[in-house]
């Protein structure tokens, strides 16, 4: 227990504590030793900054749209992969490819494919007649959030599918066999047996994904046009911390990000516990 606690303290609690300390100072990236205590001035400045609130809004919107899409698609893929068919092993491996590519690489790849003049996506969409003229997927502020959600869904659905597939394979087979013998319809089996039994796994997967989504950074950093209006909380924190060398302000944003993520985790765990216990 003691070594475990020590590791946890040194890798999690100490950096967190330091970030919190920095958020109360006017520390500059180039000149940390001369930082002075400024109380909650950074937080006051942060809460008065419209860009911060738009970053909070963007992050929450991103999480609300991306996570359910990934869960539904992931569940569908998991159900297919759970069946026995020719080449299933190969397909299971292939599904994981988007998840296996480092995000920076895949984001760069998508930014080329989504390019408004020579991108292949616009070419295809115009060719099949879905859009009249090429769209600036990553440049237009009203489109870029949708684009980022779509790319994230592409990337993390495999992760969701894998988690749910593991859950499916661990389900007891006897109730399915009994249902089949009784001639219950497939739809009814799914909604009355599969889904309730899978709920604990689904909730764990949703918690993972939501927490991940709240600290989204890399996709936004690569895909967006660098406009402060499209920042998420992590991008905002990095921008102030690194680009503006304002360690105090950046740390204040990081501390707020931490509390928002913590709050969501607590909410989720409470809901999850209730649900998981409800099943037992």
């Amino acid at each position: 227990m003691t070594p475990c606690l020590f590791v946890l303290l040194s890798v999690a609690a100490w950096p967190l504590f330091r970030t919190f300390l920095f958020s109360l100072t006017d520390a500059q990236l180039g000149d940390i030793p001369h930082a002075q205590f400024v109380g909650f001035a950074n937080f006051a400045e942060l809460f008065a900054d419209d860009n911060w609130w738009s970053a909070v809004k963007n992050t929450l919107l991103f999480a609300t749209f991306s996570v359910p899409c990934e869960a539904i698609l992931g569940l569908m893929i998991a159900l297919v992969l759970h069946k026995t068919f020719m080449g299933r092993g190969l397909l299971r491996a292939a599904v994981l490819v988007p998840w296996a590519i480092p995000t920076i690489v895949s984001a760069r790849m998508w930014s080329w494919m989504l390019h408004d003049v020579y991108g292949v996506i616009n070419e295809l969409l115009v060719w099949i007649g879905a859009i009249a003229a090429p769209l600036p997927w990553t440049a237009a502020p009203e489109l870029s959030l949708i684009t980022i959600v779509l790319v994230d869904v592409w990337k993390t659905t495999p992760f969701m599918a894998l988690l749910l597939l593991a859950g499916l394979q661990a389900l007891p087979q006897d109730c399915f066999e009994a249902a089949l013998v009784d001639g219950v319809s497939r739809k009814r089996i799914f909604f009355r047996i599969t889904l309730p039994l899978l709920r604990p796994t689904l909730i764990v997967a949703l918690i993972f994904r939501t927490l991940d989504a709240l600290r989204i950074f890399d996709l936004v950093y690569i895909l967006s046009s660098g406009d402060a209006d499209t920042d998420t909380m992590s991008v905002y924190a990095r921008r102030h911390f690194v680009d503006y060398a304002n360690v105090g302000h950046g740390s204040a944003a990081a501390v707020c990000l931490f509390f928002i993520v913590a709050l969501v985790t607590v909410l989720y765990i409470n809901i999850g516990r209730h649900n998981i216990l409800g099943e037992v």
């Binding site: 180039g30 930014s111 600036p136 440049a139 502020p141 660098g226 406009d227 402060a228 921008r239 503006y244």
Partner: protein
């Protein structure tokens, strides 16, 4: 346990060997940008110096993006480590660097210094001390499709208003003729330093200055650029960095593009669709009292105050920035020298026909307000480019935007000067 001691003993003796060789010849560590051919050029020149002096040089590649490279440099220098002796640095970093580097003034003769363009020297000097040795210059030029302008009987534009009309006319006619994806004008519209350069240029071209803010001129510029999208520029241009601008222009999808000189060498390669169809001129002027304006970019070398081998490092800086080396870089990779005389070199002019215009542009080049804004330059620049993106999208009225810009930039300047006085 004995095994562990053995390993220690081996390591200890090895490190003795390493230190012993260090004492004989200095090891110099230099950061070099890893963009395009730059790293190769750097390696080659450094190897020659190693052979000549017997010293050893380690090259540390820098990230491509200037702002990311700045983060690395800032961290190294702020920590006051002696790990890196020479840094390759961008134009706007000079005020940060001043506290951390050796003044190079005494190591160059008056004559050597006077050979550089005055604007570059002015940018790299603080309080009479040479902070950064000039290495190469970057200056925005206007690239145009010679073939299309000829086809429609147009001359290269001398004013921004001209450029707008020509771009609109050719774009419309070409699109009607089936060239559906052709755009009039592309530029670096992503919210980063590249757009900041354009903003400074546009305001300069219309006869004003960004700092101190000339509000009447800024309103005029904002009103003008708000027409770009979607009349002559695609909305996607708001996510273009230099390579995207080159990509669109080189694939034959733009009539005009403003970008750095390196665009030239790449548009002239064998498989470039616009090979032989590209013309270059200086950026046009705008409004009633305008003048042709380009903004100064480019990189230099500086020697860390915390270096343990300053003499050797300074010698390497002198070696890398000397006229012969600048000439070689210009000849093989189109990097613009900082030395005026090289722009009259016939061989260089044949290899890079645009050197005539580049040299002309460097004479009248203007600086970004990085020295007036000091530590707040990055933040001021980010808030300005965000505002300008909104102007380009017509989401804010030009006069409102100009007023906000004035308020922001004066606020940042005030904070920067307060910071400077409290430090003193």
């Amino acid at each position: 346990m004995r095994q562990v001691y053995k390993v220690f003993a081996v390591l200890l003796s090895l490190s003795c060997v390493v230190f012993a060789t260090n004492a004989a010849a200095a090891t110099i560590r230099i950061t070099c940008r890893a963009k395009g051919q730059e790293l190769e050029l750097c390696k080659k020149a450094v190897q020659e110096w190693e052979k000549r002096t017997g010293n050893v040089v380690e090259i540390i590649p820098l990230p491509q993006s200037s702002s990311e490279a700045f983060v690395v440099t800032q961290q190294q220098l702020s920590a006051q480590t002696s790990d890196v002796d020479i840094f390759q640095v961008d134009t706007t970093w000079v005020s940060f660097l001043a506290a951390h580097v050796v003044s190079l003034k005494l190591y160059f003769s008056q004559q050597e210094l006077a050979a550089h363009f005055p604007a570059i020297l002015q940018n790299n000097t603080i309080n009479g001390e040479l902070i950064v040795a000039p290495w190469y210059a970057d200056v925005d030029l206007l690239f145009y499709r010679k073939d299309l302008l000829e086809k429609y009987g147009k001359l290269p534009p001398t004013s921004w208003e001209d450029l707008f009309l020509i771009a609109q006319e050719i774009q419309e006619s070409e699109r009607a003729a089936g060239n559906g994806r052709l755009w009039g004008y592309v530029f670096r519209g992503k919210a980063y330093e590249g757009l900041m350069c354009h903003v400074v240029e546009w305001i300069g071209a219309f006869g004003g200055t960004l700092y101190p803010p000339d509000i009447a001129c800024i309103i005029e510029v904002f009103t003008f650029i708000a027409q770009f999208i979607p009349k002559i520029s695609p909305a996607g241009t708001l996510n273009y960095a230099e390579e995207d601008v080159r990509g669109v222009f080189q694939s034959g999808n733009a009539i005009f593009a403003s970008n750095w000189p390196y665009t030239w060498a790449l548009t002239q390669t064998e498989n470039s669709p616009v090979k032989g169809k590209v013309g270059i001129c200086v950026l046009p002027k705008g409004g009633q009292h305008g003048k042709c304006t380009s903004v100064l970019g480019g990189w230099g070398l500086c020697v860390s105050r915390y270096s343990r081998n300053q003499e050797a490092a300074i010698d390497l800086v002198r070696w890398l920035t000397r006229p012969e080396e600048q000439r070689r870089r210009a000849l093989h990779a189109s990097y613009c020298p900082t030395i005026r005389l090289l722009y009259q070199d016939p061989e260089l002019l044949t290899a890079n026909p645009f050197f005539r215009q580049a040299g002309q542009a460097l004479e009248t080049v203007i600086l970004r307000p990085s020295s007036s804004l000091g530590r707040f330059y990055a933040q001021a620049s980010a808030s300005i480019v965000n505002l300008v993106q909104r102007v380009l999208l017509c989401r804010i009225a030009p006069d409102m935007a100009a007023q906000r810009l004035e308020k922001d930039i004066i606020g940042f300047h005030k904070r920067a000067s307060e910071m400077a006085t409290t430090k003193n």
